[in-house]
Amino acid sequence: MKKVIAMLLSLTMVFGMAACGGTDTQEEGGTAAEEAAAEETEETADADSAKTDADAQDGAAAGSYKIGFSVKTLTNEPFQAFIADMIQVKVEEAGCEFVLATTDSAEDVAQQVSQIEDMLVSGIDALIVNPLDSNAIIPALERCKEENVPVIMVDSGPAEETDESLYVTYIGTDNYAGSVTAAEKMAEELGGEGKVAIVRGVSGNTAGEARANGFKAGLEGTNVEVVAEQPGNWSNDDALQAMENMLIANPDIDGVYSCSDVMLDGILEAIDSAGAEDILIYSFDGLTNGCQLVLDGRVQATMQQYPSVMGELAVEYLLQILNGEKTAEDFEKFVDSGVAYVTQENAEEALQNAP
Amino acid sequence: MREKILELDHITKYIFNVSTGRPIRGTDVKILDDVHFDLYKGEVHALLGENGAGKSTLMKIIGGIIPCDEGVMKLDGKEIQFRNSREARAKGIAFVHQELNLCTNIDVAHNFYLANEPTGKFGLMKEKEMYEKSAEAIRALGFELDTHTKLGRLSTAQQQIVEISKALSYDSKIIIMDEPTASLTKKEIEMLFSLIHDLKKRGISIIYISHRLDEIQQIGDRMTVMRDGCYIGTMERAHYSDEQAVNMMAGRVTNNIFEKEHIPGDEIVLEIKDLKIGEAAEPLSLTVKKGEVVGLCGLVGAGRTELARTIYGARPDAGGEVWYQDELYRKRSPGKSIQKGIVYLSEDRKIDGLITAAGVSENLVLSALHQLFPGGLVSRRRQKERVGQLIGEFNIKCMDRDQLVSTLSGGNQQKVSLGKCFAVEPKVLILDEPTRGIDINTKFEIYHLIDQAAKQGLSVLVISSEMAELIGMSDRIYIMRGGTITGMVSDEEEMTQENLVAKIIGV
């Protein structure tokens, strides 16, 4: 059904254009590859709503609810994709319908808000959200409250003075605490002193800020000094250049803390080409490529999050609320989905459940 | 005695850079040389002269668009100097340009009130009033126009009426009309003339610029003739005759300054068979023999440039054939023409002919790039040698080879343009107004060059509005009118200016 609508939509729009165009130019937008993309969209549309679309109205029948997940872009973000897949599996196990909305670029806060509004209109009963910016998401949460749609935040938490009633709970790794542990572990490894650089994430991303600040907090009390801190913008390209230039400024650094495994490729390249040796590299997320690098010994440790745990718990709690077994007050405001300190020893089994 | 409302004496204007308006340094070429002009109240004063005679420049001075370098202008007896056209209009002088001063994307009323729209509350335009007032103004001229329609949808004549009614809305006493009938149909011309008679009755004087003698006889009370920027004379309508006007326009130039050394061969190089330059144009045919100079004369808008560009391949034709060296030349394009040896020297060299921001040598070799450097790489040595040859041959006066063309004088620029054509060693030369806006001695150099080229076996098709030049240079002259060829003059006696002018006008 959805496939038909998608085709109908683009066809009618094109027909509308031709009507106004006054000429019978055939549709020649884009390259031949674009036609290939048209078939492509059908598969992705199918893959998303695997089940045939049950009745579109609110889940009238008991147990079959519509649960939406709003997340930032999934490209080059296996971590987010893993949460989304886990949630989809859990939702469909419970016989409910799963709706996914992703923004097309990592920073498009306005788009995430309007996507949530659209999902509310399409009648979702519960929402799981990984906010791009915890301040900008508040109005959307207020709207959910008006429609009494319970909301659970995953991975990135709420801003400090967010009104507690807006969300049921926040399930995620305590980026801050996780980074503090990483800092303490690195200080131990370095014997309490040395120079360290931090490769930050994209500006304004709550998780990124918390990880950088957490790491710095973890180093207080030791005389391990943070000599350089530049953003890698979650992309290998920028991380590579930032790392290269930081190595120039202080060639004798002893440790590097990357705020996410997605930037490890770039950082390792920078270190290889600079010919710097025995630099302790710590990272965060515990993605497949992160754990693999730890296993190969090129990265010393990574703080593995459990996206699957986040996904499972979120769906579990929401179903409890929807089925009336529990109310929003029964949950604490923060549930730590735990962080594992992955080193070469436990890298093997960490790799199994890594996203 | 009729009251003289406008008088101009000793008006002189040196050649100036059109875009910046500042005079060009280092030349003393005058566009207007000590011109006298006067206008009585309620009179239609026709101004006659060939292209480049300075008519439009004189009118731009009266219209306040450009200042005059020397001379005095009196309006109602008082000396005045206009800084811009708005001031002139405030004093009651309105200018109806050939390309009208109107915007095709907005409707008639908004054009009518452009720049002084009546505004009501909150600064909103009083649109109802504008539509009514403008309709009234047009009705006052005896025409009915729906002032809501977009200007672009009106015919040229209707647009002209809007411009004239706009001029009248400033209760102007003098209206200057520059070539108003250039693109009007016969019926529309009659409409315009009846309007002019009506304006005369209201005491409004009109300066009517044209080079169509038949119109001037109908409408003009007095006729002034200008040639090469000089004032020749004024005639009353009573003793006006075409011959006298033509003599004054064409001027007595003896033929001996043009020595014709080339002898036209009889092998036909270029032959045009029933070529149609436009959908509705009549098919035309012409031939150019080896070593022959063929002239092409006609009024502005007769389609001479369109014909030249169609042969060259820069413009699509609407049927007919072009035979070159006894083969049919299909799918013509500038590139292909140059390869075959047909070159075209364009009328306005700054737009079509030269790259003013590039150096002399770069311009000279521009058309001949593929010939000079078949390997694809520009060899500095080969270019230097060829450019040296061309500069010598055309004696282009420039400090160094890479001097910017924009810094050269008009004459030198035309020689660079010509050099560019000759760099390709062409067989057929199509020249469009080769000597327009150039000082006299460069003109003679160009005549000599054309003659020598024909002598060496090139065939030349030259378009010119100066009768004397055309007669002096060409062996045969085709006459064009209304987009097709209406006649051909080949032997000596017939080639007189009076005869040609008469043929052009179709009198």
């Binding site: 109908l8 006054g22 301040n135 | 369109e306």
Partner: protein, 335 residues
């Protein structure tokens, strides 16, 4: 058969002739298709679509004026972010909110005037001048907010963005007011008339003794004004200022104007049409969201749409020009 073919041709020509009709057809096509999607036509969703369209439609007023004079304004995304950032920084510095809002709008106008001066006086190409000024403002916002988002707007302010009266969100009302003001200014005031004239024939403006430079500077100043208002509106919707909140609006505003029939070659285009174009884009994104299709599909569709429409406009223009040319020759014949 002959008669009916002529009629449909007439219909197409009539439709393609007047821009307003053309835009209505686009919007009708988009809504007709979207209506098939469940709950698209729900009142609340339509209000959402309009609210999302408001932040595209308001700056599109300035962009339309720029495009009418053969220019373009890409600095909308910069002003949408920089103006509210100044407002929130001043407000946190204790300045009364009304003054801060005024100052934010002034900054928007100033940025617009800077664009105008760069384009009219210095002669920089419009699209590169406005893009660069947009990037500079984005950079300054990042420096002020140290890369992050800044909150601290008064409660009442965020009410404007999200609150609604009688079910109609405030943003829609603000959009209607701005679009009405813009439309009136462009269609009904003398300055609007001169903007259209400037887009068609600059020589006439000079001939009438007006200065095209001053007019251009004013146009881009107005563009800055409307972008600042849109910025404040967006920040009130998000209750925060995030340095990249404006990124997608840069292209959406231009796309809205093109969808609304504003031609790239200057001289045509109206504010109401561009606003309808903005609604068309918001409706399309909303419809595709409801379908759960990836946002990349939206980019694919919007990208092809823009190229297609401009291609059609250029073809129409070329056909017109060719008719005029032969018209001229036919005329010369019997001259």
């Amino acid at each position: 058969m002959q008669k009916s073919v002529l009629k449909t041709k007439e219909f197409f020509r009539a439709v393609s002739g007047r821009p307003l009709v053309r835009t209505l057809v686009i919007i009708a096509a988009v809504c007709a298709a979207a209506a098939l999607i469940p709950n698209f036509l729900k009142f609340s969703n339509l209000m959402n679509v309009l609210r999302q369209a408001s932040v595209i439609a308001i700056p599109a007023i300035g962009v339309t004026m720029a495009m009418i004079t053969k220019g373009i304004d890409l600095s909308t995304s910069g002003v949408i972010v920089f103006a509210p950032m100044c407002v929130v920084v001043l407000y946190r510095g204790g300045v009364p909110f009304f003054l801060c809002a005024l100052c934010g709008i002034l900054i928007g106008i100033l940025a617009g005037l800077l664009n105008g001066i760069l384009i009219a006086r210095v002669g920089v190409l419009p699209f590169i001048a406005t893009y660069v000024s947009g990037t500079i403002m984005l950079g300054l916002t990042m420096v002020i907010g140290n890369g992050g988002s800044v909150t601290g707007f008064p409660k009442g302010f965020t009410q404007i963005g999200n609150g609604s009266v009688l079910g109609i969100p405030w943003s829609n009302l603000i959009m209607l007011v701005c679009v009405a003001a813009g439309a009136l200014f462009l269609a009904k005031t003398k300055h609007g008339n001169r903007i259209y004239a400037l887009g068609n024939n600059e020589a006439v403006i000079r001939m009438e003794g007006l200065s095209p430079e001053k007019l251009l500077i004013a146009i881009y100043g107005i563009g800055g004004f409307f972008s600042a208002i849109a910025g404040l509106l967006l920040s009130s919707q998000l209750s925060t200022v995030h340095p990249t909140q404006g990124n997608s609006y840069q292209l959406d505003c231009v796309a809205a104007c093109i969808l609304g029939g504003t031609s790239m070659l200057g001289g045509s285009g109206t504010v109401v049409n561009s606003a309808l174009g903005a609604v068309g884009i918001a409706a399309m994104r909303n419809a595709l969201n409801l379908l759960g299709l990836h946002p990349y599909v939206q980019n694919l569709v919007l990208g092809s749409l823009i190229i297609f429409i401009v291609a059609v406009n250029v073809l129409l223009k070329r056909r017109e020009r060719r008719q005029q040319e032969s018209f001229h020759i036919r005329r010369a014949e019997n001259g």
